[in-house]
């Protein structure tokens, strides 16, 4: 059974320097409180996999110097503009970028989910995304004739980390229709989840809840962290904090402004 805790740093202890960490896209339950805790702790050299894209989370981890390698399909603040620390890190060459395309990341994690070494995917041939990925291969389909197809090696993260609405007393986590969170947990060695609340019941006793539940079997630790996705949204529970995102976009436009942002919203707020 997963460890249920109120202590976020305790739950995050398995995320070590240099590990491969997979996190979800900007609207699927991004663990922002946990991200701030990792930045406070000063985690280093992460291989960050954002499934399949990211916004504030990747930008902050990059700006704070936590990321060595980024593997994703796009990083942007959406309607709040480009992701400034990400863009600067690429232009300045301070992180290693593994550019992907969204379904390639889903497929490579699904390979790990199934315990197979690779997954084929259509598309990609003739794209520079493929040309710059020496870990992806093109083969002639063994089931066709002259049918080239791309093979993607399985991505097996050390840790999956996400935020969800609720867990039950046995550490089962309700993810609703954000099914990519289950794929992440199935593919990773360990999974750490932050939740808004822990309910004193068992979701698997209720067939309607069970259909949207990730069993505790896959989970290492669950930490209660209210508004743990803020300022990003938790789908069906709370919206994005537009004013805060605009403030971030403004401040993070320069390294000095980003440092001020970290002082104000990350380092000074132990519980945030």
């Amino acid at each position: 059974m997963p460890k249920l805790t109120d202590t976020l740093d305790d739950a995050l202890s398995c995320i070590r320097d240099g590990c491969m960490l997979v996190v979800p896209r900007e609207v699927s339950g991004v663990p922002m409180a946990a991200t701030r805790a990792l930045i406070r702790r000063g985690v280093k050299m992460l291989h960050l996999v954002a499934l399949p894209t990211s916004s504030l989370q990747a930008d902050m981890l990059i700006g704070a110097g936590c990321v060595e390698t980024l593997e994703t399909s796009a990083v942007s603040l959406g309607e709040f503009g480009p992701a400034p620390r990400f863009s600067a890190a690429i232009v300045n060459g301070t992180i290693r970028m593994k550019d992907a395309t969204c379904p390639a990341l889903h497929a490579a994690l699904q390979a790990s989910e199934k315990g197979v070494p690779f997954m084929p995917l259509r598309g990609l041939i003739g794209s520079d995304v493929l040309n710059y990925r020496d870990d992806w291969k093109v083969v002639d389909s063994p089931f066709g004739s002259d049918d080239p197809i791309v093979l993607l090696p399985a991505i097996r993260p050390d840790v999956a980390l996400f935020h969800a609405p609720m867990a039950d007393r046995n550490g089962n986590v309700w993810i609703g229709r954000q099914r990519e969170l289950a794929t992440m947990a199935h593919a990773a060695d360990r999974t750490v989840v932050t939740v808004e609340t822990i309910e004193d019941r068992d979701f698997l006793d209720d067939p309607i809840m069970a259909a949207g539940t990730l069993p505790g079997f896959y989970i290492e630790a669950v930490a209660v962290t209210e508004r743990g996705a803020w300022p990003l949204p938790l789908p069906d529970f709370y919206p994005l904090d537009a004013a805060h995102m605009a403030e971030y976009a403004r401040m993070a436009a320069t390294p000095e402004g980003f440092a001020d942002y970290l002082d104000r919203y990350v380092h000074d707020k132990r519980a945030a």
């Binding site: 399909s73 969204c102 379904p103 598309g123 995304v129 080239p148 537009a242």
Partner: protein
Amino acid sequence: MFMTSAPRDFRDEELLADIIAGLIGDSRHVAVGNASPIPATAALLARERNGGARPYVSLLQSRKHNFFTDGARELFDCAGQGRIDVFFLSGGQIDGQGNINLVSIGDYEHPRVRFPGSFGSAYLYYVVPKVILFRTEHSKRTLVPKVDFVSAPGGNEPNVFREGGPIALVTNRCVFSFDRRKKRFTLQSIHPGHTLDEVNDNTGFDFDRPAQVVETPAPSRETLALLRGPVAQQLVEVYPQFAAQVFGVGARVSA
């Protein structure tokens, strides 16, 4: 060269949505990615023209107009099976062969400018039958002879599995159609208030011109009524600021 003489009773966004709805035509399923309010408007308009029944419209940014329950991968699996007929892509650069660049300007390993990334383009461009390219900045900076990075190519060698690709490029100045065999754009129509000279001067790639260039038709009264009525109401949920700004509906959200 021509200029429109009739007074304008429509906005640019309405004209663009009308053009795109025409390109969508009679389709079963139209999907629209994030941060694409005009394509979303067009998809909802296409559906209202059919009495609200067809096509299915999946707005990925919307909770209401989004039936996927199997996570973010379902869109791509759906497209891979041919269950998505129309999708929209754009690019920091688009070239005359229909290649799009969503990654960077300059050398990939030492870029001068970095864009967000390729998103799903390196897959969806191949598997969705009608991809409509949309870019509201029609300039030599965006429409270039050759992209610096090919996020997704306009065409492939004949042995590469490719059911989909670009059918058209819609800009703030004109509409180009795309011939997949020739891998070339042809100018289709120029929007009211814009000129052929202006299109020539602002397009960095070579394209074919028909003998006679026509003006993009203005939206009809029926179209404007649908846009300003049911379509505007549906946009409030997913693009509140756009709906307020263009159609004056819903409450403006401060950002």
